[in-house]
Structures are given as structure tokens and as C-alpha cells.
């Protein structure tokens, strides 16, 4: 268990709701849920959530900390914003789900090999390198995330798709070497580093 997780359990021993309100993006909205279930019924991947949003909101209030932070339900969010558009109370549900997913990951509680958690990190790392996404490397990183052998298998399975995209000039093998970039890369990276320091500092203060 991570030190941060232990510290948070200590601090918020009696109230997971307070922990969420203080540390999760848009977490202060959780208490506003009125349990109508429209979010759960509106989610395009709803059937794949072990606990759909409505349930997660109730579980937070019922102090089900371990269950909420270890489920991979939040990672099923496609960011379609259907729940936000329909919530009668105006809860920013998409952002709360993203916030819970990130919080679980920071505490080291996200399930290993959760594909969307992995992809999300791969995407972020990819855009950090040049300030812009390198789609070719993004695809390759995803194919090869579980090792070289599996990567070759994945690449072979998607060979035709890749050829189609290259033929349409919507994929470029040369992107492997360098590729698109912001010009002020050092300024860009300093900016993000500073933002990360501020955000991590806030979490530490909460400890």
C-alpha cells in the first residue's frame, strides 16, 4: 500500500465523502446526487461498469472506500458527457469519474493492466515528449505495452488497418523519427512540471 494511501486513510478515517470532496476533481458535488439513476441508464458502456455512477455516489457516502477506489468502473468512462447533459441536479459526473480514476491511480489502487488506465498514461507521456501527440508512436506504444512478442502479434493483426491509413496519408512512418513538435518545447515542459508540482503539493498538504 502506498504511503499516500496510508496517510489518507489515517486522515479521513471516518469519512470517505470528506476525502473525496477534498481530493477528487469536482468531488464537492458528490453529496448533491439524488440517486435517480439517469446517469447509469445513460452511459453507453453502462453494462460494463461493476458499479455505475449512481452506485458509486452512494458507495462514497456509505464509506465504501476500498470498493470504490479499487473498482475499474470509472475507467469505463468514454467522456461522452451524456450523464452531465441529463443529470437533473447538474453534477459534472464525467469529471468526477475522471477525478476518482486519477485519485485511485495516485494512491496506487488502480488495477494492474487496466487498459484505459494504461492508455491514458501512454497518451500523456506521448504528448509530454513533444507537446503534440505523435499518433504513430502512440499506436506502437499501445501495441507493445505487454512486451515485444505480443506487440508483434498486435501489429500483425492490425496490419491492414495500418496500410489503409498510410495509403490515405493519414499515418506516416516517418513520424517514428522525431515528428511534429511545439517549438518552445523547453517552456512547455517547464510549464507542465510546475503545474504537476503545484498539484502534488496540494495533495501532500491534504495529508
Amino acid at each position: 500500500m502506498s504511503d499516500l494511501n496510508t496517510a489518507m486513510i489515517e486522515k479521513y478515517r471516518s469519512s470517505f465523502l470528506k476525502e473525496v470532496e477534498a481530493n477528487v476533481e469536482e468531488g464537492e458535488w458528490v453529496k448533491m446526487c439524488m440517486q435517480c439513476g439517469v446517469c447509469s441508464g445513460s452511459c453507453p458502456l453502462g453494462k460494463h461498469w461493476d458499479h455505475p455512477p449512481q452506485e458509486i455516489f452512494m458507495m462514497i457516502r456509505a464509506n465504501k472506500r476500498d470498493e470504490v477506489l479499487s473498482t475499474d468502473s470509472m475507467w469505463m468512462c468514454t467522456s461522452c458527457y451524456n450523464c452531465i447533459a441529463r443529470c437533473p441536479r447538474g453534477l459534472p459526473i464525467t469529471h468526477i469519474m475522471h477525478g476518482l480514476a486519477v485519485y485511485s491511480k495516485r494512491l496506487g489502487l488502480t488495477q494492474k493492466k487496466q487498459p484505459t488506465a494504461e492508455f491514458s498514461q501512454i497518451f500523456w507521456d506521448n504528448l509530454m515528449k513533444k507537446g503534440r501527440v505523435n499518433e504513430l508512436k502512440l499506436g506502437l506504444s499501445m501495441y507493445f505495452k505487454d512486451g515485444f512478442g505480443q506487440g508483434i502479434k498486435n501489429a500483425m493483426a492490425n496490419q491492414k488497418l495500418g496500410q489503409n491509413m498510410m495509403k490515405a496519408k493519414r499515418m506516416n512512418a516517418m513520424e517514428f523519427f522525431g515528428g511534429h513538435s511545439v517549438k518552445d518545447l523547453s517552456g512547455f515542459q517547464k510549464m507542465v512540471k510546475k503545474a504537476q508540482e503545484i498539484e502534488e503539493g496540494n495533495l501532500k498538504d491534504a495529508k
Partner: protein
């Protein structure tokens, strides 16, 4: 008509050799015909899209968009920011709203931006290209520019998620937006206002991480287009376009379907209808060729 000048945020997927490079080409053609001048935001960066949150958290993610807005305010002062990509638009507008509502976040974002010698004010409007078309240009003007009506083509207007929610287009409903159908009609094609999958999610970024779950949804989007007698699907979103077009082989293999449905952008339709050639309309960027549009473009 007076020239409209906009501060343009093209986004990563529009770059040369990237998945929606064809969108950029056709959008530029469309804007030339509509007398819209796109001034690219110098040195723009990725917005983090809808999947970067898991790696970036909140402030670093918001800082990405704050940098783009700050660059626009410095170099394209007084111009509204416009994006063609749904996720670019959403992230930028969302960041602007969050930084406006949260004073501490505004200060923190500026502390981060100062490392790059930038200052965020957040005074620019952030709009999607379709807002410009619907609100500033108008359907009548679009209609008046048509040289080759897209007669005899039936098109399913697939709006998707992020162009539609949570912000959407003023005056349109989230559940049954009509503007894409009206664009289709304005260029002389036949629309399908009752296309039931018009705001169905395609999986977005999860098409990559959860391909089976996403392709099941994509299958529904294409199937409904066939059921409604569509010749092709049109969309305003680069990820919708790619997801619905490029996985049709995989879906056919999984489900035994025989899908071969072209998926184009509104800007593709307009470029062809405005009389421009197939290259200007980026029809060569189709993985599934839009033959009926090619015929008209080559006439």
C-alpha cells in the same frame, strides 16, 4: 460578405500524416469559399484530449489549454478561438470555464504558464467551427454558395458526443440536434432527421483500449445508417470519423456484416458542393472511398 478572421486551433490529429489531416484540408477549402480566414495559433500544443486526464490530473491538463489560449490572446489578439476538433474545442472551453470559476486554479495556472513566459487572461471566446457555420454564416449563405448540389445522395448526420455535449450548439437539443441535417440539406443532399444513432457514443479514445466494447457501439451506428438507407455518414468530429470508418473490416470479421459505409466530414460535403475538386475536398483521404462524392467532384 465581410471576411471573418478566426484564431485557429487545428489540433494534433489534423497535422500532416495524422488521422484527420483530410479534415484540415477540406476545412481549409470550405473556409476559402466562405471567406473565413484561419489564423493558426502559433506554437499551439495538444489539449490532452479526453483521455489525457489519467496521466495528467487536473491542473497540468488545464495548463495545456491555458497555454493555447494565452498564445492566441498574445498573437491573435481580439480574435475568437475556433477549433475543428471536438475534443480540442471541449478541452479548451472547459479549461476556460474552470479557470474562470476557480480563482485558485486561475492563479496556479498562471504560475505554471509564467515558466513559459506566458500570461493567461481567458477573455477569448472558444468556439467550434460548426458554431461559426450555423450562427455566423447561416444555412442560407451555405446554400447560396452551392455550385454542384449533392443530389441523389442520402446522408446520415452523425453528430456524436463531444460536439454535442456538454456545450452543444446554441438552440439545439442534446438528444436530437438538427443542424447537421440542415447542413446536409443546404448542400442539396437528402438528410435523415430520424437517424436514431446521431448522438450515440463511438467509444472515443476507448476504441483503442477497449476495442471490442467500442466496436459493438460502432456497429450500431453503421447498421442504423444502412437501415435508414444512407449512402454515407457525415460527422463533425475527427475521432468519430476515424472510429466509424476504419474499423469496419474488424467489425465485419467479428459480426459477419458486410459494412462498407463511407464516413465524411461536413467540410468534405461543402467543398464538393461548392464546386471544388476531389483533392481540395480531401476525398483521397478516405479509407472507404466516397464514390458518389467523387463522381460529382470529377464532373
Amino acid at each position: 460578405m465581410a471576411k471573418i478572421e478566426l484564431s485557429f486551433y487545428p489540433g494534433c490529429s489534423s497535422q500532416k500524416g495524422a488521422t484527420s489531416s483530410n479534415y484540415l484540408v477540406s476545412a481549409q477549402t470550405m473556409c476559402e469559399e466562405l471567406d473565413i480566414q484561419l489564423n493558426e495559433i502559433p506554437d499551439w500544443n495538444c489539449c490532452g484530449a479526453s483521455i489525457g486526464y489519467g496521466g495528467g490530473g487536473e491542473l497540468p491538463r488545464l495548463a495545456l489549454s491555458a497555454r493555447n489560449i494565452a498564445l492566441s490572446e498574445e498573437h491573435n489578439a481580439g480574435q475568437e478561438i475556433v477549433a475543428t476538433c471536438a475534443a480540442c474545442w471541449l478541452s479548451t472551453r472547459e479549461a476556460k470555464e474552470r479557470l474562470h470559476e476557480d480563482e485558485q486554479m486561475f492563479k496556479d495556472a498562471n504560475a505554471a504558464l509564467s515558466e513559459a513566459g506566458l500570461k493567461y487572461k481567458g477573455e477569448s471566446n472558444v468556439r467550434h467551427m460548426v458554431e461559426v457555420l450555423v450562427e455566423d454564416i447561416g444555412f442560407d449563405t451555405i446554400k447560396s454558395k452551392v455550385k454542384k448540389p449533392l443530389e441523389g445522395i442520402k446522408i446520415a448526420g452523425y453528430v456524436g458526443c463531444q460536439t454535442n455535449r456538454p456545450f452543444g450548439i446554441a438552440g439545439e437539443s442534446f438528444e436530437n440536434p438538427q443542424y447537421l441535417d440542415r447542413i446536409v440539406e443546404s448542400v442539396g443532399a437528402e438528410s435523415i432527421p430520424t437517424y436514431e444513432k446521431k448522438v450515440q457514443c463511438c467509444g472515443g479514445a476507448l476504441a483503442f483500449s477497449e476495442p471490442e466494447k467500442s466496436q459493438e457501439m460502432i456497429k450500431g451506428i453503421i447498421e442504423a445508417a444502412y437501415d435508414n438507407g444512407a449512402d454515407m455518414i457525415v460527422t463533425p468530429c475527427p475521432l468519430c470519423q476515424a472510429n466509424v470508418e476504419i474499423y469496419q473490416d474488424n467489425i465485419n470479421e467479428t459480426y459477419g456484416t458486410k459494412f462498407n459505409m463511407p464516413v465524411v466530414y461536413y467540410s468534405t460535403l461543402m467543398s464538393v458542393a461548392f464546386g471544388r475538386n476531389a483533392t481540395d475536398a480531401a476525398l483521397n483521404g478516405q479509407v472507404i472511398p466516397a464514390k458518389k462524392l467523387e463522381e460529382i467532384a470529377n464532373k
